[in-house]
Amino acid sequence: MTPPTDDPILEVEDLVTRFYTDDGTVKAVDGVSFDLREGETVGIVGESGSGKSVTAMSVMGLIDSPGRVEGGTIRYRGENLLEKSDAEMRDVRGSEISMIFQDPMTSLNPVYTVGEQIARVIRRHQDVGKEEAKAQAAELMTDVGIPEAESRVEDYPHEFSGGMRQRALIAMAISCDPEILIADEPTTALDVTIEAQIFDVLDDLQEKYGMSVVLITHDLGVVAGTAERVNVMYAGRIIESADVDALFENPRHPYTRGLMRSIPRLHGSVDRLEPIEGSVPDPASLPPGCSFHPRCPHATEICTQHDPELRTVEAGREAACVHARGYGSPDDRAAGTGRDGPVAADGGAGDE
């Protein structure tokens, strides 16, 4: 394994992905930037429709028509993936960057045995024979905690339970020792009891293979236990980015706080969950100004006019809210609009 360095292995910068639908252009991802360091786990959190899966698919180069990656760069080890040809990207997928999906029940092809499907990925990227690939497949299945792997390689997907299928999919994804694993809601379709097991497997594998992981989820609780850094997405943008401890200790963006209040807790005085009022705006027609303002308890007039960019609010953390502590005047770095920021730098909302 390469020793961990501080250089990001994956740098996503200003990624813009749009979908051209009959109902208009949808900015599914609108200027997303994040870094992933070697051996690190980065969480991307957001509600359905916030653009987190589209971000992942953009990194994989798997955005299908009518969608298109319109701008930005995705650097993997310094190389811009967006400039690679289809054939080059196919070589990257699976061997350098892999992905596991939300629904393990449908992510395996029903007509081939699990072993065949894993072996196929191995043979796609490595020059090995059929028998060798099958042996490796059985080994990988043991690695991901599938009991009696030797005999279960011959099983068809329908003979596997949901948790076992997700393990098999993880085995497929890691079969060629990828540098990066993107896990898109890997446990959403599974029982809570299975969820912990799957994350244990992912943890073990990350240690064993030294992978970096991008964990996409709508569940802050999941992120708390696994990720080192968290990016919170809303309406196609990252609205807060911080180390996981800092984020949970003191969320700066009202949306993040809202998300946290809506997590059930075992301890503490809160006996009622507080949902965030309203729902994610239609990405085809976002509200003017800050796209969260219609649901934001702290929204002021400036929020309806000024669309705050993601800004460093403290060393190592960023937020996109004019009311966030440390954000400064909204016009500080905005192209001179000549408007006076009505909110002080240490504006009230952040001090809650």
Partner: protein, 335 residues
């Protein structure tokens, strides 16, 4: 929840892990539940065996002409005795004909058996021909769904689809000529012509079904999963998608066998299909027309029954296959 029931069913079957139930076994379990499907399957298996072993099963050569005994004339009723003569007009033998003779003194049973063989060969060729072209076109259209490639292919299919099948076949044969014909030194066999003119109008059905199936499979997560692990387009289309559309195509093919049987019999009936003296059920019916009101019922009934049974068999089998291969069929709208 659907997913849970799936898993539960796998466990509730009570089989120890390690006994692998293949898709084929699961299909058979489903298929044999329905007696009509089994009946259809039985009919088709029987007919195919008869057709394959026709030379051994038929009592006589289908073209041998027998003479009627003194005072009688062909067509002879079932169970009659016929006289076989050699070229010099001497009697060699007497035979009993189980199902009677036609107006030329040929054994009906032998001609039914050989006619069935011809009919199934032609129908199968028709279906395979249209399936090969239709499935390929449909797969390409589906894979490039909603692009200009899809548009061009499917609009062309719409044009083909708008032809009434038999009318197109008649018109085409009118232009090409009936029987084996020669074009610039190249002999076009009659069979090939028949297969193409009948099969061409079935192409769109296969293309549509295949396109729909491919579009449906493309939505499946395993396609995304395969892509995310580095599999290429063609690889996915051939290895993942097409194997999952096999049931749909097989069902469609079986159902179209019935249609093809009817069409090729009809073409023969009109005198445009198989040419005499080759045995053909359609041609037999056509010849028997003039005897319908004169009491020689066996001449038309037997070929008619064979055609009906064959079509019934293919339809029952096709429905049975569809139910067994795709239990969700009822709740889903196929294109």
């Amino acid at each position: 929840m659907a997913t849970e029931t799936d898993t539960d069913a796998a466990y509730e079957s009570g089989e120890p892990p390690g006994t692998h139930r293949t898709q084929l076994e699961m299909f058979w379990r489903e298929f044999k539940r329905n007696p009509l499907s089994l009946a259809g399957g039985g009919i088709i298996v029987t007919l195919v065996i008869v057709a394959v072993f026709a030379p051994w099963l038929a009592p006589f050569e289908p073209t041998t002409q027998f003479n009627a005994p003194e005072g009688e004339h062909n067509p002879l009723a079932p169970g009659s005795t016929v006289i076989e003569e050699n070229d010099n007009g001497e009697v060699i033998a007497e035979h009993e004909v189980l199902l009677g003779t036609d107006k030329f003194g040929r054994d009906i049973l032998s001609r039914l058996i050989f006619g069935l063989r011809t009919l199934l060969t032609v129908s199968l060729s028709v279906v395979l021909f249209s399936m090969a072209i239709g499935v390929t076109a449909g797969a390409i259209a589906g894979y490039y769904g909603d692009t200009w490639i899809d548009e061009v292919i499917m609009r062309f299919m719409d044009v083909l689809f708008s032809f009434p099948s038999l009318v197109l076949a008649i018109a085409a044969l009118g232009v090409l000529g009936v029987g084996a014909t020669e074009y610039a030194g190249f002999v076009l066999p009659n069979l090939v012509k028949i297969i193409v003119v009948i099969g061409i109008v079935y192409i769109p059905s296969f293309a549509r079904v295949m396109r729909g199936a491919v579009l449906k499979e493309m939505e499946e997560d395993y396609v995304d999963a395969a892509q995310s692990l580095g599999a290429g387009d063609v690889h996915i289309l051939v290895r993942d998608i097409s194997v999952n559309t096999v049931p749909t195509v097989v069902v469609q093919g079986t159902l179209y066998m019935g249609t093809a049987v009817l069409a090729s019999a009809a073409l023969s009936f009109l005198g445009l299909g198989i040419q005499p003296p080759r045995a053909s059920l359609g041609l037999m019916l056509s010849n028997a027309r003039s005897f319908l009101y004169s009491g020689e019922w066996w001449y038309s009934i037997f070929p008619g029954v064979v055609i009906v049974v064959a079509i019934l068999g293919f339809n029952l089998l096709g429905d049975g296959l569809r139910d067994a291969l795709d239990p969700r069929y009822d709740s889903e709208v196929s294109e």
